[in-house]
């Protein structure tokens, strides 16, 4: 990106050009789309959270009764049937997010470091690593569902018949194991993205930095921790934020694996909101949970950005 600023801060462009409406015209389609696809539904979602919106009122949802904070109370009351589920799912989703982000990042980093060195088959591997990211999520997850099937799945076949580690094939899609299945499938889906972002970041590090370090006798590990990590820090900050948000809101994988009702031990927040809204037709409560989730994510993201965004941003601006 070339900067159009002169060193003294005077504008290089003549005044007349600055007034041109063209930029607005160019931004308008995207702005309109953003408004229609994001902003308006979000405002509607917040509004729905204050309505008693059920199958009785959905036909005339604009006129659904306004119930103030009732939905939030139902969603947040730890003693209530819905509230207790919400807290359980929230805690589980936090753990899930931490585990999946950690594994996705570690795998992505490992693969990116591996592929920055030139060797035969490098291009092939790069393509292969991106397959999970390129596959439609639904297709990949269905394949995992077959693989984890208790009786006929390849996972149990390997564990029981081929390796003989277990006598009896465990259930992967029921009970506690289901949590680890969504972890595995989600990591499989997201690590290529981490790999791609990190590979791009690594390729911007000049090679002579490593050469100099090697001459000074720095071990590979030292080179990684003292050069690689600091140099990809900016990419990491953004990557971890995006991964965290995506994975926290994970819906497809549990929905495809378990259908509309996940096992309790594997119920994440997004599928729970779906259950409240579309299985129990309690759209108000679903909306309230979504709003709470949005606020929590906003606060967490803001906190994270304050914490890790380098202060030297002022130099760039």
């Amino acid at each position: 990106m070339s900067s159009r600023r002169s060193p003294h801060g005077a504008s290089a462009a003549p005044r007349r050009r600055r007034r041109s409406p063209l930029p607005y015209g160019l931004v308008a389609p995207a702005a309109l789309m953003e408004l229609l696809i994001h902003i308006v539904p979000m405002i509607l979602g917040v509004w729905i959270a204050f309505l008693a919106l059920t199958q009785f009122s959905i036909a005339n949802w604009v006129g659904a009764p306004f119930v103030w904070l009732d939905n939030f109370v139902a969603g947040l009351d730890p003693a209530g049937a819905i509230g207790s589920q919400f807290y359980g799912a929230l805690g589980r989703t936090l753990v899930f997010t931490l585990v999946v982000v950690a594994f996705s990042w570690a795998l992505g980093m490992f693969a990116a470091v591996l592929l920055t060195s030139r060797f035969r088959g490098n291009g092939w591997l790069r393509t292969l690593f991106l397959v999970p990211y390129a596959l439609p999520s639904y297709v990949g997850t269905i394949a995992w569902a077959f693989m984890f099937n208790q009786r006929d799945g390849v996972v149990n076949r390997i564990l029981v018949e081929d390796l003989g580690i277990l006598d009896e094939g465990p259930f992967w899609l029921l009970g506690g194991n289901a949590f680890w299945v969504i972890v595995v499938v989600t990591v499989w889906q997201f690590w290529p993205f981490a790999f791609l972002m990190l590979l791009a970041a690594l390729q911007s590090i000049p090679g002579d930095v490593y050469e100099a370090a090697a001459l000074d006798g720095a071990s590979l590990w030292k080179q990684f921790t003292r050069i690689t990590l600091p140099m990809v820090r900016h990419a990491n900050v953004v990557l971890l934020l995006i991964l965290g948000l995506w994975i926290f809101n994970q819906f497809n994988v549990p929905y495809v694996l378990f259908g509309p009702a996940s096992p309790e031990e594997a119920t994440l927040v997004s599928p729970l909101i779906y259950q409240q809204s579309f299985n129990n037709w309690n759209f108000g409560v679903g909306g309230a949970m979504s709003v709470l989730l949005l606020l929590a994510l906003l606060v967490a993201s803001a906190f994270y950005i304050r914490l890790v965004m380098p202060k030297e941003r002022s130099i760039d601006d």
Binding site: L22, G25, F56, I58, A59, F171
Partner: protein, 439 residues
Amino acid sequence: MKTTTRWTAGLGATALTALSLTGCSSDGGSDGGRIVYWASNQGTSITQDEEILAESIARFTEATGVEVQLEVIPWTDLYNRILTAVSSGEGPDVLNIGNTWAVSLQSSGAFLPWEGEALEAIGGEGRFVASSWATGGADGQVPASVPLYGLAYSMYYNTAMFEEAGIAEPPATWEEFVETAKTLTVDTDGDGRIDQWGAALAGSSITGNAHAAFIRGLQNGGALYDADGDPDFANDGVVAGVDQWIQLMGEDGVVSPSNAELLNGSEIVAEFIDGNAAMFFDQAPGKTLDAAGMEDYAAAPMPMVTADATGLEGTQSHVAGINVSVFENADDPEAAIDFVAHLTSDEEQRYLNDAFTSLPVVTEAYDDPAFQSDEIALKQQILSEHAQPMPLYPTEGQMETLVGTAIKDLFARIAQGGTVTEDDVREALEDAAAQMPSS
């Protein structure tokens, strides 16, 4: 790039965006001679449905000049599509619904009530099978849907396996059913593992479990709603019924634990076809069984607690089936009503139910040779003497979700080696009841 060119590009992009946005409006509404029809998936595939319905639609268009734009929607999407249509007011003119949703959807007020001229147009209530007509809406209210296809649960069993085990008659009582299932649960190849189970069921099917709770509950003298219409899932009758259902996999050990993972009915039929199970309960598996070349099977009534039970305790099925509704805001309600009259006419009832192996919902159609088989006669008798509509309350849908999920979790516990007692069943059902919305 000259300024004018850039201007043109900018405007072009804006115009294109605007066009693409207007281009994705809903396909709802009819324009004079055209109506939109959403059909549920009844056959073995969407394509098969389209082919079967296209014939019927062609006859309608020929007679009335009204064109019908058909969309067959998979069951997994149908309810959400309907809710979206209800909330946006942009939907089809005519649509199929699972009849257990009739009361919930009726309470939304979005569907045309079948009274007056509309009722006359379809020939009045008297043409229809009484138990099917009763599913059209809440008790004492004008129905918001009319029956289209009738279905009922019965028991299907592998005649070859029965013969081999020396069992002459299908079991008539639940106790006999469990005994028979135990006899048929065997390790056929001597490797120490059971590979033929007495029965198959879909432990993860929410609706299948809810139907079982309803039927087994009534047989044991308990209903899911009390006389005031309040949810009552944990009464002794329902608890006993659900306990019988889940102990098939638990104490009785006649259902493979792997069945806890099965999500829908088609997977049970596959178990039966593969010879993994000797018996199962289903509504209309005939097409699938025939397509797989399966001949050694027969249908029998679902076993009851006592062989001669009558009334509510003699329930063998809910009044299953598909109803059809007209949107209140249809652009051309007359054409929509005419189309429903066409679908429920005697001739089309014969054609459609024969094609989908379901049961006609109008009494006249039963004279047709197509409906004289033993299985149809059996289903007809079940529907007229041994079937009750699922609870006709607006919260029925939530009940199915909560009860079905509770039973799914109990199966999961058993499958993973846990034991589930009658008290556990009661507790799970109490938890489900606590989550019911107040209606």
